[in-house]
Symmetry: C2
Subunit: 356 residues, 2 copies
């Protein structure tokens, strides 16, 4: 991530007035509560998403097993390692890459990013100074093969969630053995292993900019990743946010908004939402589409059609570089991307069975 221009603040406005989020108010919680209507409620309660397909069901149970790991006590004495923020930051990122993370960053943990309450209404505290942010790539070949209305969306997500959980649990366990408190943050349906909202952490740790989908986009992975994190008090040096020109790019490019099957992505301008300037995703439309699609799981269409999600081949990396430095190159790349029919399901690479 050292190739990208660093800036003092994220490229979208962030006010001082960000409110903490209650886990009971997230889209899937609201769907289960009936806020999105009885059809959506019945569907998510009777056939919860990752369990709808045997592979993602199997994957999610293994993540739950990882999440059941009981945090060991922090070692009584600190390991004899340098008490140097810069050296420890570099070390911990190298540990992440060694464990096969695809991108690593560090930020101060904004208090506003800690959820206020869990799904059962218990208040959440996560009193840590730093967040180590871990990105895991989604497998693009499978996304490219998928129609978006088949079952493979959740397995793609859970493949990244699984590997992120493995890295986060291992790293947190390692840091505790070095003598510092640490808590792994990753997806788990049964074990509530998230105490923090991850997108602001991805932003502040210099791992992406906000995109038209409302999701943070990484310049190497596009939208094709899942994030995990480790919260800790180990002395670290935060990274700075990055600016690779995405705000101008997404203003021009509306491929995701045009091709979203649920029309959940805004084709308009950014607006302020809970203190963040963003293109606001219509979460109800996005979640309801996947929940009501009985033959499929999540659609991944925006991940698939985004030009930034292309794999890191020599050619695509060249285009990535060009569009950062020239708005003309960006215009041409967007037009060319549209012409390639990015929404097409490439059946020649389909390897999974369709199963209800």
């Amino acid at each position: 991530m050292s190739d990208f221009k660093r800036v003092d603040r994220p490229t979208n406005l962030i006010s001082d007035n960000v409110q903490r989020v209650d886990q009971r108010e997230t889209a899937f919680s609201r769907a289960a509560r009936g806020d999105y209507g009885p059809a959506v409620q019945t569907s998510i309660v009777n056939t919860p998403l990752p369990r709808r397909y045997p592979l993602s069901f199997a994957q999610s149970e293994i993540i739950d097993q990882l999440a059941r790991f009981e945090d060991n006590p922090v070692a009584a004495s600190k390991a004899p390692i340098p008490d140097d923020h810069k050296i420890l930051s570099e070390h911990i990122k190298q540990v992440g890459y060694f464990l096969q993370a695809d991108a690593m960053g560090i930020c101060l943990l904004p208090k506003s990013a800690v959820y206020s309450h869990d799904i059962k209404g218990n208040p959440i505290t996560a009193d840590y100074k730093y967040a180590i942010v871990i990105l895991m790539r989604k497998e693009y070949r499978t996304i490219r093969a998928s129609s978006g209305t088949d079952c493979i969306g959740d397995p793609v997500s859970f493949q990244s969630y699984q590997r992120g959980a493995l890295v986060a649990e291992t790293m947190a366990n390692y840091i505790r053995k070095l003598g510092y408190p640490a808590s792994a943050q990753h997806q788990s349906a049964k074990m509530a292993r998230y105490q923090v909202v991850l997108p602001p952490l991805v932003l502040w740790a210099g791992l992406g900019e906000v995109s038209r989908t409302g999701i943070i986009l990484n310049p190497r992975l596009g939208l094709g990743f899942k994030a995990a994190a480790v919260l800790t008090d180990m002395p670290l040096e935060p990274d700075k946010p990055i600016d690779f020109g995405l705000q101008g790019f997404c203003r021009q490019c509306k491929i995701c908004a045009d091709l979203c099957p649920s029309k959940a992505i805004s084709a308009g301008d950014k607006a302020m939402y809970n203190g963040y300037e963003t293109w606001k995703l219509n979460e109800q439309r996005c979640a309801s589409f996947s929940i009501l699609n009985k033959k499929g799981t999540i659609c991944n269409r925006c991940v698939k059609v985004c030009p930034w999600s292309n794999p890191p081949t020599g050619y695509h990396n060249l285009v990535r570089r060009a569009v950062q430095h020239s708005s003309l190159a960006a215009s041409i790349a967007i037009k060319a991307s549209r012409l390639t029919g990015r929404e097409k399901a490439h059946n020649e690479d389909k390897w999974w069975f369709d199963l209800a």
Copy 2:
């Protein structure tokens, strides 16, 4: 793995008289029992290997957590998928690659590969027809940076063990949901998740040939991998063993034997050992060296110096191809490899802390 010549039987002789192995007779069990002398016994009992270094200790606990996953019952009805050995084999390999396995193969489970007794003396049964074999790459950059007497050998091994455990547990869980029995086989210090000896499975599944180290060598990964497996009765089509000319190559090349710090690798000819023709590793010397090295974990020297362990760059892949088809090319490659000083610790890439 489809690029390599397939043969009916492995390239080393295997008799019909292979005896099942007792887990109490493996090198680390014997070391702990005192068979290798009191110094080795004291050292392994007081400072067991992966726990000697905080990173491998942390990694091994997360693997134990995965291994505690209680196998779900097999689904009562079979999923409506084709009852076709070839199609199911192709599918299950694709699942493995999707979950980020580095190489996949399938064999009939030889009854002789099932351990006779576990570490506590209980008889082991593993009544499955097939073994799905999963190889996970070791991180070569770290091995190259390591001296072989430092602490990073175990973290390298456990990084591969961890990811192999994740793939094996997920795949076994998936197969059970499809309606077939399946059992994950992978490293775990606490949970005894191995019922089978893996090297013969790697051999029969066409994922490698026996090498001078006695370890099975994969033509793409060299010695730089760890194996895991899933045993199952799902109808599958076994792969055939491969022949990429390694028997002739290892006969000529003695780099590993010359550079092994414990002189555990034979510089002589193959011999029959428990029904297998192999270059017999002196397990006592190999295990004792790592166990007695208080400042380090396992040495990985043979993995590091083997010319086949080079990463899959264009250049190294070209050499791989050449040495398979020409013994002159093999001679030149071996001489060139020796000249590069493969045992050197590349300190410029060292990222870990030395900690007792």
